[in-house]
C-alpha cells in the first residue's frame, strides 16, 4: 500500500468524486436542454436502492448497475412528465421528485438494510496497475471509476460535436427558435432527461455498490444537491465538471487527509470555497456568452432574465 499523502488524497478524491461526476454529467445534460432538476437527489437514491437490492437478489453487481441506471431513468421520466408534459414549475417539480425519491427509496430499501453484497470489484489492469505510485493511485478501482472520465468525454463530444447535441443546446438556449428550425423540443428534452436519469441512477449505484457497499436511508446525504451546484461551478461544461468533481469530492478527502495530518484548518470553511467560487465566477464572467447559463434554463421561471 502506498503511503504517499498526495496519492492518498488523489485516490480519495477520485473515489468520492466519481458518484458526483456521474450525477453532474446527467444534470449538465438536463440543464443544457433547459431544465434544472433539483430532484437529482431522489434519482440517485432510487439508483442506489434499486442497484443494491438487485445485487442482493441476483448476486451480480453489474446487473445491479444496469438496474439502477434504468430505475433512475424511469424515475426521471416522472420529472419529465411534469415539466415537459404539463409545463409545471421546474424547481417545485424537482423538489417534489426529491421527496418522492427519499420516501420511495426508504420504503423499498427497508428490508435490505444490513444486507451484505460483494459489490463491484476492483479491476486490475495487467500492466498499468503495477506501476509503483501512479499505478496504485490511478489503477486500483472498480469499473465505474474507470468509466467515468470516458463518460465525461462522451457527454462532451455528444453535446458539442453531434447534431443531436446541437439541437439539445438550442432547445436550452431558445426553444422557439429550435422549434422553428424543425426540431422537436419535447422529444429532445425527454431524451435529455432519460439520459440524465441513467447517469443519476449510476451515480447512486456507485455509492451503494462500490463506495460504501451498503444501503442506508438517505445515504446520498445531499450529494444530489452538490451536483446541481457542481454544474454551476463547471459552467455547464462536462470536461470542467471532471475537475469540479475532483475538487468537491476532494473536499471530503482533503479534509480527512488534513485531519490525519493534524492541520488546523476548519473543514467547514474549506468546504465553502467551491460554492463561493462558483458564485464569484458567475458574478464576474456571467456576461461571457460561451460558458454561461443556458439562456432558457428553467424557462418557466426565468421570464425576466
Amino acid at each position: 500500500m502506498v503511503g504517499s499523502s498526495l496519492g492518498g488524497f488523489l485516490s480519495g478524491s477520485i473515489l468520492a468524486g466519481t458518484p458526483l461526476l456521474y450525477a453532474t454529467l446527467g444534470e449538465v445534460i438536463s440543464e443544457r436542454a433547459g431544465m434544472i432538476n433539483l430532484g437529482l437527489e431522489g434519482v440517485m437514491l432510487m439508483g442506489a436502492v434499486v442497484g443494491f437490492s438487485t445485487t442482493v437478489n441476483t448476486g451480480n453487481a453489474v446487473l445491479g448497475v444496469f438496474a439502477a441506471a434504468l430505475a433512475g431513468a424511469l424515475f426521471n421520466m416522472v420529472f419529465g412528465f411534469l415539466v415537459i408534459g404539463r409545463r409545471a414549475n421546474q424547481l417545485a417539480s424537482g423538489l417534489a421528485l426529491m421527496f418522492c425519491g427519499v420516501g420511495l427509496s426508504a420504503l423499498l430499501g427497508a428490508t435490505y438494510i444490513g444486507s451484505q453484497i460483494k459489490g463491484l470489484n476492483e479491476i486490475r489492469i495487467p500492466f498499468l496497475s503495477d506501476i509503483p505510485a501512479i499505478g496504485t493511485i490511478l489503477f486500483h478501482y472498480d469499473i465505474l471509476v474507470y468509466l467515468v472520465v470516458p463518460m465525461a468525454i462522451l457527454v462532451w463530444w455528444a453535446l458539442f460535436y453531434t447534431r443531436w447535441g446541437l439541437s439539445l443546446r438550442a432547445v436550452g438556449e431558445n426553444p422557439a427558435a429550435a422549434f422553428a428550425a424543425g426540431k422537436n423540443p419535447y422529444l429532445l428534452q425527454y431524451q435529455a432527461l432519460f439520459i440524465a436519469g441513467l447517469l443519476g441512477g449510476i451515480a447512486g449505484a456507485d455509492l451503494s455498490l462500490a463506495v460504501a457497499r451498503t444501503w442506508a436511508e438517505w445515504m446520498t446525504a445531499g450529494r444530489g444537491f452538490v451536483a446541481v451546484a457542481l454544474v454551476i461551478f463547471s459552467k455547464w461544461h462536462p470536461l470542467r465538471a471532471i475537475a469540479g468533481a475532483l475538487l468537491f469530492g476532494g473536499a471530503i478527502a482533503l479534509q480527512l487527509q488534513m485531519q490525519a495530518r493534524g492541520l488546523p484548518v476548519s473543514p467547514f470553511l474549506l468546504d465553502m470555497l467551491p460554492y463561493l467560487l462558483s458564485l464569484g465566477v458567475l458574478a464576474v464572467w456571467g456576461g461571457a456568452r460561451r460558458h454561461t447559463v443556458p439562456a432558457s434554463l428553467g424557462q418557466v421561471f426565468q421570464g425576466t432574465e
Binding site: G3, G7, A110, V211, R213, T214, E217, A221
Partner: protein, 367 residues
Amino acid sequence: MDKKGSSIASAFLVILISLVTVLIFNFTGWASAQPKLKVGILHIGSTADAGYNQAHAEGVQAMKRNLPTVELIEVENVPEGADAERVMENMIRQGAKLIIPASFGYLDPALRVAKKYPDVKFEHPGGYKLAPNLGTYWASTPEAFYLMGIAAGKTTKTNKLGYVVALPISFFLANVNAFHLGAQSVNPKVETRVVFTGTFLDPGKEATAANALLDQGIDVLGVIVDSPITVVQAAEKRAAFSVGYHYIGVQKFAPKGWISGIAFTWGELYTRFAKQVMGGTWKSEALLGNLASDYLTVAPFGPAVPADAIKLVNVKKQEFISGKLNVFQGPIKDNKGVERVKAGEAFPVANVGKMDWLVEGIIGQAK
C-alpha cells in the same frame, strides 16, 4: 368569485373538514389493550444497521422475550431535536411508562418531556444530566478499547492503526485514547490516526475516510459510527484488519480480517429496568457499567489474532475488573505536548465526559 375569494373558500373548507375530523376522533379516541407495561424506544437510525441501533433493538427484543407482559413501541430514524419530543409525547399518550431515547442528542428533548410527565420513567444511554424521572446508563468503554488495542497491537504488521470516528465527542476520544494506549503497551512502535466524518451515519464519507486511512499504510481499522458495516467492509476489501463496535454480530462482514469488537448486549439491563418500573423500585441514577457488567461484551476474536494476544487480553480484562489496572494511568501527554495526567496518578474513567484531547502518538484533531 375572484382568486382571493376562492382561496378564502378553500381555506375555510379545509378548516371545516379538519374541525369535523377533530370532533369525530375525539369521540372515538385511541383504543388500546392494557398490558402490564408499555415501553417506548426511539432509534436514531435503522435497527438493522449491525451497529448502535441494532444493539438497542435486540436489547428491547430480549426484554420482551423475558417479560411477555411488556408491550413495545419502537420508532426508527427519529431525527434529534423537535421531532424527538413529539414522538416521545405520542408514545406517552399511547400509555408508555418507560421511555428509552436511544441517542445522545435526545437528551434535551427527553429532559423536557420528562418534566411534563413525572410519572413516566426515562432511561437515556450516554447522557450526562439527570432528572427525578430520568436516569442515564452506559458502560465505561475505554477499558474494553484498551483490550482491543492490545489485540490490534499484536496483530498489526505495519504498526499503523486507524480509527474512523463520527464526532470528536469526549466518550469517543476516550475510547480511541484507550485503544492507542493498549496497543502501545504491547507494541511501542504503533501510531494511530483518527479521522472524523462529522456525522453519525454517512456510508459514503465513512468509506472515503476508511480508504484515506488505508492509503496511509494503516492495516488495522477501528470504527466508531452508528453502523460499522461500511468501514469493516472497506478494511476487509483491502486485506486489512478491523475492530468493530456496538454490535456483536459484525464479524460476518470481515471473516478474514476481524480482530474483535466491543458489543453492547443490553437485554438483561433492559429487563431489569422494566422490572423496576413495574415493581415501583425504579430510581434515577447515572449507571456506569464496566467489563464485569452483562451489557458490555467483548466480541469473539477472529482467526488472525495470535493466541498469546487473546491470552493477554483475558489477563488484562481481569485486572481491569479487579481494579488492579487503570486505563489512563499517568504520565500521559496529549498530542500537542501538554501533560494531561501526572506520573503516579490516573485519570478517572468517570470523568471521561470532560476529555477533549488525544494521547501523544495519535495523529488527529480533537477539536
